[in-house]
């Protein structure tokens, strides 16, 4: 067990924070419910069944003051208490502070047992107020509470950052301007002892006031100038006002602008989304400059400076008796605050510490020097472990899912809290009872995990046996898997004229399915109104590794030139997305970018859509292919394959003539039978020639691999080596798939590495350059070509290869369409 306290808490009027000293450094714990922010708003809200502390309570502070309490620190040590309407009880400032402290305990994720802490108090706190703060610590379950004044904590944070534990004797000011309060203190250090000599403060001044001023003094006047409103300010600020919601939007925008102005000299605020009284749409952009903003807050800042002057006079000091003014609190980020304070007082300001966490950090440093008192009560820990039996649906498509649990064990004085793992839901701290029911909101399309944590009355975690609550709200709950891969037939760029399959949904994916949008450049142009121009979109079911012909067509859409509103060019994009519903309806959605036209068709696979024309085309393609394969097998003296294929040829011929005899409007199911036959033949061709194709792609793969390795050895960098090694490491795996396409894919990846390297090698670049030079006459822009070539010659002379690469691509772009490809194949860089 650690022997020093180590934990420090800044129990602030508006915000609180907790930090811990660990091995010479201080870590500040972030608010688990607030996306990495380090602070917790010191606001407590009471509901009938739960207590909420922090941000969520703060949201209700202004509108529900009867149940939500903030700034209670100002009332510490008084007999005043806050009547809470929702629970019909009164809460003292001590009880409220204890709630904030208990909430801060939940930030600690290090598994520490928090039984002692340093708590900070304002320099202005008297004995009663200090004792009240201590009492709050004890009520929150700390057994030992050590108090520390805030300006001293800030100074300690500074001293430790400077790594000067022993500061020089002298005096300085701590200027603390936060979200809603201002404090200034004079600190004296004498022989290592730090002391607060004097202090002043304003409990009603802070950053929130500045946001308000931006809205009132700048935005509203400018809006009134441009548009007609009779009483805009009142309508905005009154809760029943017509523009009340807009007022809060403006406040948010003002706050953003204020933050922007800390780093930039001007900020824009866009005001839109409502109408004036004459029905004109309000749409304006207001620019606020830093000097405008400075002018706005000048009076307030000067007010704080007057307080400092009072301190200086009261203590008979001169400005040069004071070493510096240490800036603390979020509002000291404002440049004007820094410069104005420095300018008027003629005392240098010190902005070296993080103004929002300095006090907590300083408290933790102090805690590291304070020994822990021995555990006084010495009683063995109560066995509070309880057992939770939970019941809920593990999969749901609802927005919310009911979670019910039965608790066995002693639930007295215990509370629980359920939070969602993504940080989007927090039930708040609720009283635990034998049975609990909670509606848990789900994020659509994802796994939702919740944790239920049980706490004792002092917010220490109690062990339970409950596993995390996991609810799947993804697609396909209780859905059925698809039995085969679903693919789209696309052009095979490596084998012009052939097609291959692109996987859309993998086998065993759960229905319903929706693909992301796939974009392709069109391989041919289409002229508006021309019936001979068409695009086919063909969706097939079957193994992604086989040939398209071998798979079952399940959806087929044609787009003809006659349907177009304008011509579309070759190379313009078509976007395709495919969806399959739970009842297996397939919807193809195609969008032609250039024509801005959308085509949509839904297929019910029970009624298979097989246009005869398309079938005929496929049959012809397949029989040509069969001829080629037979020829090739014979040439290679692979007689076994040739014999198998020849046997197929007879069947193929039959299918061929049967299809030819089909009329285009044939209504019988003959076409389906023929399609089935065709598919079976294709599968058999696939099987018979697969070995051959695998041999081919493997040989190709090894060739590229050697080439790539050589390039890597000579010119490769570490990143390329790693990419290469990653591919090679998978070699066994993708060879084992026995899929020519998979192997081809890997060859492509390797060759792209090689070509990337090649583009850096001087010889290659010179080669490309001289090829371009030889083709200069064909270039589209002669004068540009000439200047590029001049630049290229110079680049070669000065051996500036990077520049040469740029010039080469510039030159290639000047070549007429198509010639570029010529260069690609001729020079052998597969880009």
């Amino acid at each position: 067990m650690e022997s020093t306290i180590n934990f420090g808490i800044d129990l602030g009027t508006t915000n609180s924070a907790i930090a811990k000293f660990v091995k010479g450094e201080v870590v500040i714990f972030s608010n688990p419910q607030d996306y990495g922010r380090n602070t917790l708003p010191s606001v407590v809200s009471y509901r009938k069944d739960k207590i909420i502390v922090g941000n969520k309570a703060k949201e209700f502070l202004e509108k529900d003051p009867k149940s939500v309490v903030g700034v209670f620190k100002r009332k510490m040590g008084t007999t005043e208490s806050f009547k809470i309407k929702s629970i019909n009880e009164s809460k003292t400032p001590i009880e409220l502070s204890a709630q904030v402290l208990k909430e801060l305990k939940t930030f600690v994720n290090t598994g520490d047992n928090l039984d002692s802490t340093v708590l900070t108090i304002p320099a202005s706190f008297d004995t009663i107020q200090s004792n009240a703060t201590k009492e709050a610590g004890l009520q929150a379950g700390f057994k030992q509470v050590v108090l520390l004044q805030e300006p001293i904590a800030a100074s300690l944070a500074y001293a430790n950052m400077k790594k000067e534990r022993e500061l020089k004797d002298g005096q300085w000011l701590v200027y603390d301007l936060g979200g809603g309060t201002f404090d200034v203190a004079l600190i004296k250090i004498n022989e290592g002892e730090m002391k607060v000599l004097d202090h002043e403060g304003d409990n009603f001044l802070g950053g929130a006031d500045f946001d308000n001023m931006i809205v009132e003094k700048i935005l509203i006047p400018k809006i009134i100038q441009e548009y007609s409103f009779t009483n805009l300010e009142e309508e905005m600020k009154s809760a029943s006002g017509k523009y009340n919601a807009k007022y809060y939007v403006l406040l948010r925008r003002a706050e953003e602008a204020k933050i922007t102005l800390s780093s930039k000299t001007s900020a824009e605020i866009v005001i839109d989304g409502f109408e004036d009284e004459e029905g004109n749409e309000v749409d304006m952009e207001i620019v606020i400059t830093r000097s405008e903003f400075n002018e706005l807050i000048k009076q307030n800042i000067d007010g704080t400076i007057d307080m400092i002057k009072k301190i200086i006079t009261r203590n008979s000091l001169k400005p040069n008796d004071i070493q510096f003014t240490l800036m603390v609190g979020g509002s000291t980020y404002i440049p004007y605050v820094r410069t104005r304070v420095e300018e008027v007082l003629q005392i240098p300001v010190n902005c070296e510490i993080d103004p929002t966490t300095a006090v907590a950090i300083g408290a933790a440093y102090y805690a590291a020097t304070k020994p822990k008192e021995a555990n006084k009560d010495g009683l063995p820990k109560k066995d509070t472990s309880i057992s939770i039996k939970a019941s809920y649906n593990k999969a749901s498509k609802e927005k919310e899912e009911l979670f019910a649990a039965r608790i066995t064990g002693n639930v007295e004085n215990l509370s629980y809290r359920i939070v969602r793992q993504d940080g989007g839901y927090d039930s708040g701290l609720k009283k635990l009872s034998d049975r609990i029911n909670e509606d848990l909101p789900l994020v659509d399309g994802a796994y939702n995990f919740f944790t239920l944590t049980v706490y004792d009355s002092q917010n220490n975690i109690i062990e339970t046996d409950l596993e995390p609550i996991g609810i799947n709200s993804g697609f396909g709950i209780s859905g059925q898997p698809i039995p085969e891969d679903i693919c789209l037939e696309v052009d095979d760029l490596d084998n012009p004229g052939r097609t291959r399959l692109k996987l859309i949904f993998q086998k065993n994916s759960i229905l319903p399915l929706r693909s992301s949008t796939i974009s392709f450049p069109l391989n041919k142009g289409m002229i508006k109104g021309n019936e001979a121009d068409y695009i086919f979109i063909n969706i097939l079911e079957g193994s992604q590794h086989s040939l398209p012909e071998a798979n079952k067509g399940i959806g087929f859409m044609e787009i003809y030139g006659t349907q177009l509103t304008r011509d579309v060019a070759k190379g313009s994009d078509i976007e395709i997305s495919i969806a399959i519903s739970e009842s297996r309806d397939i919807t193809i959605n195609a969008y032609l970018n250039m024509a801005d036209q959308e085509f949509k068709q839904t297929f019910n696979p029970k009624a298979r859509h097989t246009p005869i024309e398309f079938l005929k085309e496929q049959v012809i393609d397949l029989s040509n292919k069969l001829e080629e394969e037979i020829q090739e097998a014979t040439d290679n003296e692979d007689f076994e394959t040739a014999a198998t294929l020849n046997k197929l040829k007879k069947e193929m011929d039959q299918v061929n003539s049967d299809t030819e005899n089909l009329t285009n409007d044939d209504v019988t199911d003959k076409r389906y039978q023929l399609e089935d036959k065709k598919r079976k033949i294709a599968q058999e061709i696939d099987a018979a020639t697969k070995d051959k194709r695998i041999q081919q792609v493997k040989a190709h793969y090894y060739e590229i691999k050697d080439d790539c390795l050589k390039m890597l050895d000579d010119h490769g960098n570490d990143h390329e080596r790693k990419t290469f090694n990653d591919i090679i490491a998978q070699e066994v795996a993708f060879f084992a798939t026995n899929s020519p396409m998979k192997i081809q894919e890997k060859s492509d990846e390797l060759s792209s590495i090689a070509s990337r390297i090649r583009w850096r090698t001087p010889n290659f670049l010179k080669g490309v350059f001289s090829w371009c030079k030889n083709n200069q006459t064909r270039m589209n822009d002669q004068s540009q070509a000439k200047s590029l070539i001049d630049a290229g010659n110079f680049a070669i002379e000065s051996e500036n290869w990077e520049r040469l690469a740029e010039i080469n691509s510039g030159l290639l772009n000047l070549l007429p369409k198509g010639a570029e490809k010529e260069a690609t194949t001729r020079i052998g860089f597969g880009l």
Partner: protein, 128 residues
């Protein structure tokens, strides 16, 4: 009790600003009636951001959600709300200044989402 691994990522502010801009554009387009189907381009960009741009072995990408019109209560830590009007019960989100931004990532074979920016919203008692 089994621990849930909590994704701990620090997303550069520029990414969030970028997503917020796309959201703004989408919001503005919804007021227009235009023939150029700009929303299609936006959807495409959103798709790319969600599935392609930030793809790695463990992460997928960013997406956002506009909670406009949804119910609001203090249990919703995915929104930072300001309450307009007089009531505090039966609240509805009436303005969205920033959307909820999620990062999607894989945990084993499951797609998980984690919030990297809570929405900034204005809420008001629902008119019945």
């Amino acid at each position: 009790m089994q621990e849930i691994k909590k994704l701990n990522v620090k997303v550069p502010q520029a990414y969030l600003d970028f997503m917020n801009q796309i959201f703004e554009i989408e919001k503005k387009i919804s007021y227009l009636s235009e023939e150029n189907s700009i929303s299609r381009n936006i959807n495409k960009i959103k798709g790319l951001l969600e599935e392609e741009f930030f793809k790695s072995a463990s992460t997928l990408g960013f997406s956002y959600h506009n909670p406009l019109g949804e119910d609001y209560s203090e249990t919703r830590t995915d929104c930072e709300a300001t309450i307009a009007g007089e009531g505090t019960e039966n609240l509805e989100i009436i303005e969205v200044i920033k959307p909820i931004i999620y990062i999607s990532y894989y945990e084993f074979d499951k797609i998980m989402k984690s919030i990297v920016q809570p929405a900034v919203v204005i809420v008001k008692t629902r008119n019945i």
